[in-house]
């Protein structure tokens, strides 16, 4: 995993437009929801394991909740935050060799292409979530677990990622480099 710090030459010190701050705020807000889902996933599985081991009574629906509720929430809601921190996996071996100005333009333009693709994914994901809501989609387990509310995590998470990617592009074009690129800490992999 690489970051974009190579392109982080000192940019003009001027305040960023308000809409960029709003996008960043949205990403952080969704990350809080993701963190909440992470905690709930851990507690849910722990309760299941201890219930099974201590009382021979596993917590019913753990697999369904984990698969359909906690996992989509914790992953999709963190997409935009990860882009804000510039920690999505990128290969920058070629970009690192480009002149700074050219690199900014290239990252900006290809960021917009990525944004368009993500918006298409948002649109189709939203349609799917609406269809699921219309039929009240549940799992086929007994008792059934409602899935449809969490299917909206896909369009919401991908849309936020599209916004954050567009914000990153804007920062490249306008000479504001992604803030987080300056203090990225690396990743856990």
């Amino acid at each position: 995993m690489t970051d974009t710090r190579a392109a982080s030459a000192p940019g003009p010190r001027r305040p960023e437009p308000g809409f960029l701050k709003l996008v960043d705020l949205l990403s952080k807000g969704l990350a809080l929801i993701a963190a909440f889902a992470l905690v709930l996933l851990a507690i849910n599985v722990l309760v299941d394991v201890t219930g099974r081991a201590a009382m021979n009574r596993p917590y019913p629906g753990t697999l369904e909740y984990t698969q359909n509720w906690w996992m989509p929430t914790l992953t999709l809601m963190a997409f935009a935050f990860t882009e804000w921190k510039q920690e999505h996996i990128k290969v920058t071996i070629l970009l690192d060799t480009l002149p700074l100005m050219m690199r900014r333009m290239v990252e900006g333009i290809f960021g917009l292409i990525a944004t368009a693709l993500l918006l298409a994914l948002t649109y189709h994901g939203f349609n799917e979530a609406m269809d699921a809501a219309a039929i009240g989609k549940t799992t086929s387990s007994s008792p059934p677990v409602a899935v449809w509310p969490f299917m909206f995590m896909a369009p919401v998470g991908v849309f936020a990622l599209a916004l954050q990617t567009a914000a990153t592009s804007y920062r490249y074009f306008a000479g504001f480099l992604p803030i987080a690129a300056l203090h990225a800490e690396g990743e856990a992999v």
């Binding site: 851990a42 992953t75 070629l94 189709h124």
Partner: protein, 489 residues
Amino acid sequence: MTDATLPSRVASRIGVTIFVIGLIVAAGSLYAMLFADLAKEVTGILIVVLSIVLLLMGIPVGVAMLGAAVVGLYSLSGARVVRSTMESVAFDATASWSLSVIPMFILMGMLLWKSGLTTSAFGAARVWLGWMPGGLAVATNFAGAALAASSGSTIGITYALGRVSIPEMLKAGYNPQLAVGSVAAAGTLGQIIPPSLLLVVYAGAASLPVGQQLLAGVIPGLLLAFAFAAMIVISAKLRPGLAPRVDMSGVTWSMRWQSLMDVVPIAIVVIIVIGGLFAGIFTATEAGVCGMFAALILGGIHQLRIGAGLGAIWRMVRDSVVGTLTGTASVFLLIVGVAVLTRAMALSQVPNFIATEVAELGLGRIELLFILIVAYLILGMFMDTLAMMLLTIPVLLAPLISVGVDPLWFGVFLVVMAEVGLLTPPLGILTFIVHRIASDPEANLGKPISLGTVFLGVLPFALTAIAVVVLLIFVPEIVTWLPGASTTR
């Protein structure tokens, strides 16, 4: 013009040239897929080419795969298939029970790292193994193996070890190449010995049981650690100047036993995760959750023992959660992309085409795997580890199975080769991290260590890893025996 600017200008010109060629290739691939009447297999190959070009342009790898695969799907099957794929892929790729082990393993590793528990591993290995030829490097290596068994984070292990062991080895008069090389090599064990994130991702992409895939990594990981140790000892024996003997006269048995007490927390986590998996007590996710809670409790106790307050514990948890969220999201964006890519590859029939060609060429299992060693060495030079794995799994798995390669075995082979890619120039990320650690004057004792020194230092370890891979090819039971013997759930 100074001498210093010349190479960067040349590199810049080469970069711009490659960039322009990439743009032309991307445009040509797009045009051909959208407007030309191509055979399905050719479309499949163009999808892979377009993926590689897009990811080299700096688009997140998952989105690059998604974009190329969507165009390919449209070319192969039309708009209806594209629509149905895009409607469900983001939710379906993330809604997975088996992959829920990923955030738990990351969180467990982060908690162990941020709590400072991992730093005791080198101290313990040092007092037990320091007497050997190249003892400090051997200690670094086995400390890496111990940390690998409690954390799936290559980078976490490298940081934890490098900051402690590099200055100690340099102080003892070790050759800088051996000092930095042993740290980087120890880091590679993180993704082979479970809990390994890469093995989980592979199991997900190849639709294999996660628990069995994780167990498949245990013996090859240990074998790799012993091979690295043997290489260090033999090198130190042949060239005593490489690693002068360390005076261990001050180390008493009570110090040795005390050092073991310091690594008890790590041992507990290892027993919970690997022992629980092997005995069939836990599924992989349950092992991850229990290991994570153990790391949380033990990390908290360790923080209190060293006199840190509740504020420090809160920061440990907060930083670990943030690292987990970004680590998990970055992996899952890739998984979304690879889900679409896998569908496109299946429709293009490229895997079947390769399987047929392999059969017609008369290539057997061993010949094909030797070709793959070379291919992965080349790919590892310019591609990210996960990207390299996930781009090739949909293409290669079916042909490999057709020549008798066990998919569990191939997962381990792939992860070891991916880890070798972390060491090789020009994109050997682990070498850059070790170089960053070794650039700190406190670590290098005021004697700068160049990137070239780091690359030369990791070379013997990379060759040793390849030798182990060759051994695995001829004795595949090294990988497949443990999963077969376990009662994993």
